[in-house]
């Protein structure tokens, strides 16, 4: 019995796979016949870009989280040291308050610096937020084009002139995720300063 059930399941799986294959082929043929392959090319071409952007988000948020956690660990240590100093000051019978105060100040300054670094590490929110906004733009365009395609390909629907959305060439694209490979993208502040200086700014 179990063997028969397994055979039935395998047959069903193969049947579904075969049907998906047929649907995919039909979609491809329909796209080609309707001339939509060119119009969708712009959106489809953005998909690798979307993948890069998602990878960038994962990398940046991961780095920020690791940085913050390490700094928090250091802060906890500094905090413990400061507590020990305060306890030592309270128990001390000798006149070494100045030394303890000096050490306390140094530990306080170090802790303050870590807290500033933690604050700075939150800049990932701005960078990833801009990239996410760009991904949303791309997927919105893709969704709109696919809906238009569905309308056009549904039986009995009147033929409507399809107008591909125009993406302005000068649209701001957000954080550079390809500065290593794109010579037109500056990868650090020094390059920005040099570029501005070369133009006399």
């Amino acid at each position: 019995m179990p063997s028969t059930e397994n055979n039935l399941n395998n047959h069903q799986i193969l049947d579904v796979h075969h049907k998906i294959g047929n649907l995919t082929r039909q979609l491809h043929d329909a796209l080609t016949q309707l001339g939509h392959t060119e119009k969708l090319k712009a959106s489809v071409g953005e998909i690798p870009d979307v993948k890069s952007r998602l990878s960038y988000i994962a990398k940046v948020t991961g780095n920020a989280a690791e940085k913050v956690l390490n700094l928090v660990d250091d802060c906890k240590i500094s905090n413990s040291v400061m507590l020990a100093m305060a306890q030592s000051l309270g128990q001390s019978h000798k006149n070494d308050g100045a030394t303890i105060l000096h050490d306390y100040q140094a530990t306080h300054d170090k802790l303050d610096e870590h807290l500033t670094d933690i604050m700075m590490a939150q800049d990932f929110h701005d960078l990833t937020g801009q990239v996410i906004a760009r991904i949303i733009d791309i997927t919105t365009v893709l969704e709109k084009e696919l809906v238009e395609l569905l309308i056009q390909t549904s039986p009995g629907s009147p033929k409507v002139e399809f107008v591909a959305p125009i993406v302005p060439a000068d649209v701001l694209i957000g954080p550079a995720i390809d500065s290593d490979t794109n010579p037109d993208v500056m990868s650090n502040q020094s390059q920005v300063d040099d570029l501005l200086a070369s133009f006399g700014f």
């Binding site: 500033t116 694209i173 993208v185």
Partner: protein, 129 residues
Amino acid sequence: MNCEIKFLVVDDFGSMRKIVKGFLSQIGYDDCDEAEDGVIALHKLKNNKVDFIICDLNMPNMNGFQLLAEIKQIPTLKHIPVLMVTAEARREDIVIAGQAGAAGYIVKPFTKATLEYKVTLILQKVGFK
């Protein structure tokens, strides 16, 4: 250091506005207002005294380029230095900012030292001590 200098920080991300304001406070500048886009910034500029603008590029409603263009057309505002602090790092955007009259350009992510250096440099150029 002239601690009476009034800053305006313009960025659509609250976390970034907080970071910039935090840095400015640490280097001695506590008088700092904020705006989340160019439209709000322009309104504040027209109604309040501002000595220095730190502005993002990529913002809704009115982006940094558009705000800069508006400022440069208003006689009472065009003298205010505008320091761009933005994730946009393309060559053309940087050059456009320079040509449009931006006083400086910092790319994100940036350090407190970079911000302090640029702010100090610009203040010296425009005559603040």
